[in-house]
Symmetry: C2
Subunit: 304 residues, 2 copies
């Protein structure tokens, strides 16, 4: 099945202890779409300015991503400038220039309103709800968010969350949203807001899947060389949703596999700046990494 | 096979957001010995003062722990006072009273010098080496330490580490010891100091086992009610070493199982203050928890 995604398409300027990139291809919608495109057809709804480099659109097209939902409007593309210190878990935002996103009203192309798998990448929760209102028969809606919206648009965000099946959220943001320091209790409070599945992203510690009364803990791949964590969460969500949409299987065992696929995609994303690792990533490398996650976390039965 | 352990036996005064205990039974040797006693015979080398409550010795004896190596000397027992905030990963030491530990010279009883499994719980690295010198034919020596010794007795600690097979260490302490922020690179530097197996304890995020070129990531059990994390690392080591000594199997699959047994014992330890959870813990509960860890972390093969 196809996936409809709304999110940002951005030009990111990022500095980490291991290098820097100026105005690289970024944005939550971009990272999600590229990652998910390994698994199924992706339809991206977003906005870019007149200054958006054509080469970036060509790269998205080369991944067979449907760009009919990308509006090109006068003005400047959304830009984010950030840096990371050695603690690569925490991005420090230096500058956010909304530009064309300030007046953006997402329009889902008519041809895409029947798509059953919907991902609302991290953007204004008002816009996320506008997309929900435009899809006709969603089978699975997942959404992501960030502290900026939890603090600045809490009520709107909670309305969006009440309409989704799956929420992906960072550990600290889950605590902030639920106003509860214990992660399991925080997840229970978020379950009560609507989503029956919550994925808590823990950066270099992996991710927790909380599905009804079940908990699954996915490790992160311990990596010696992390170049740039920007977009890791979106790449995770792309692999996760991509696998679910490809198989159409929403059972617990399938959700667990999807979390590992997502973790694998995130582990590739951080190996290079921007989306560059996906410019030459082959399916065989993904299969091999999935096996690595198994070696990393599986253990035998025991006699005690 | 039996285990010889040297470590502290202490009276701990601990405050957490969930309660407090005054002069409860504590100490690295105590927590290790009680946990490991579920798996094999434990021989504990330590020192207590004249004020050490007889009931604590009776509890250790009830766990069939050999106390011939515990010296009782005039003066006061070692005391530690600490507190935890909602971030239960970090203990804040309020007061350390070494008391009888100031002049302690560990003496391994003659009957215990042939023991092949040796655990050097967190104490002065000089004392840890004195124990190594007294054992005749160790098959496996593991040791634990803490930032206090990494910063205060670095050279002595590195001499101790050069003589052990396994080092268990907290994440932050591994970075401090190796002077390297990337955990995998830090582990490589520690491997070069001697131990071919390193266990990096990550608190609520679980533990990493780095054995030769292999990495295994064990989750922590997500717990809704954590009363007191004091001794979790020692309980982990007790389960880990206990399982290895019980089976005599030092292969990679066995090391992985031992890490999960250790994680299970740590998850029990934090459910109550002091060592209280072990006053009534049954083997069936441990088996059940091992299965829980499997549900928590295993996932199926995939077709991609």
């Amino acid at each position: 099945m196809s996936i409809l995604v709304i999110g940002s398409v951005a030009l990111d300027t990022v500095t980490t202890p291991f290098g820097a990139i100026t105005e690289g291809l970024g944005g939550s919608g971009t990272h999600f779409a590229i990652s998910a495109s390994y698994y199924t057809d992706i339809h991206l709804v977003a906005v870019v300015g007149a200054d958006f480099p054509a080469e970036h659109l060509r790269f998205l097209e080369s991944r067979k991503i449907d760009l009919r939902g990308i509006e090109k409007v006068p003005g400047k593309t959304f830009r984010w400038t950030g840096k990371y210190d050695y603690d690569l878990n925490n991005a420090q935002t230096l500058k956010t220039e909304l530009n064309v996103f300030e007046k953006f009203m997402p329009k889902v192309p008519d041809a895409c309103r029947d798509i059953e798998y919907v991902f609302l990448a991290n953007i204004d929760p008002d816009l996320q709800r506008q997309v929900i209102e435009q899809v006709k028969k969603p089978k699975l809606i997942a959404c992501d968010t960030m502290n900026f919206w939890i603090q600045g648009k809490r009520d709107s965000l909670i309305r969006t969350i009440s309409k989704v099946d799956i929420l992906t959220i960072n550990e600290g943001e889950a605590r902030l949203l639920a106003k509860e320091s214990n992660l399991i209790r925080a997840a229970k409070k978020i379950h009560a807001m609507g989503p029956k599945t919550i994925i808590i992203k823990q950066g270099e510690y992996g991710a927790l899947l909380l599905h009804e009364e079940h908990i699954f803990s996915a490790p992160a791949l311990p990596l010696e060389d992390i170049k740039d964590p920007t977009g890791a969460g979106d790449s995770f969500a792309g692999g996760f949703m991509g696998y679910l949409a490809k198989t159409g299987d929403l059972s617990l065992p399938s959700l667990k596999k999807a979390v590992i696929v997502g973790s694998a995609m995130a582990s590739f994303n951080v190996e290079a700046f921007s989306c560059d690792r996906f410019r030459n990533l082959a399916m065989d490398e993904i299969r091999e990494r999935y096996r690595l996650f198994k070696h990393l976390s599986h253990f035998d039965e025991i006699e005690l």
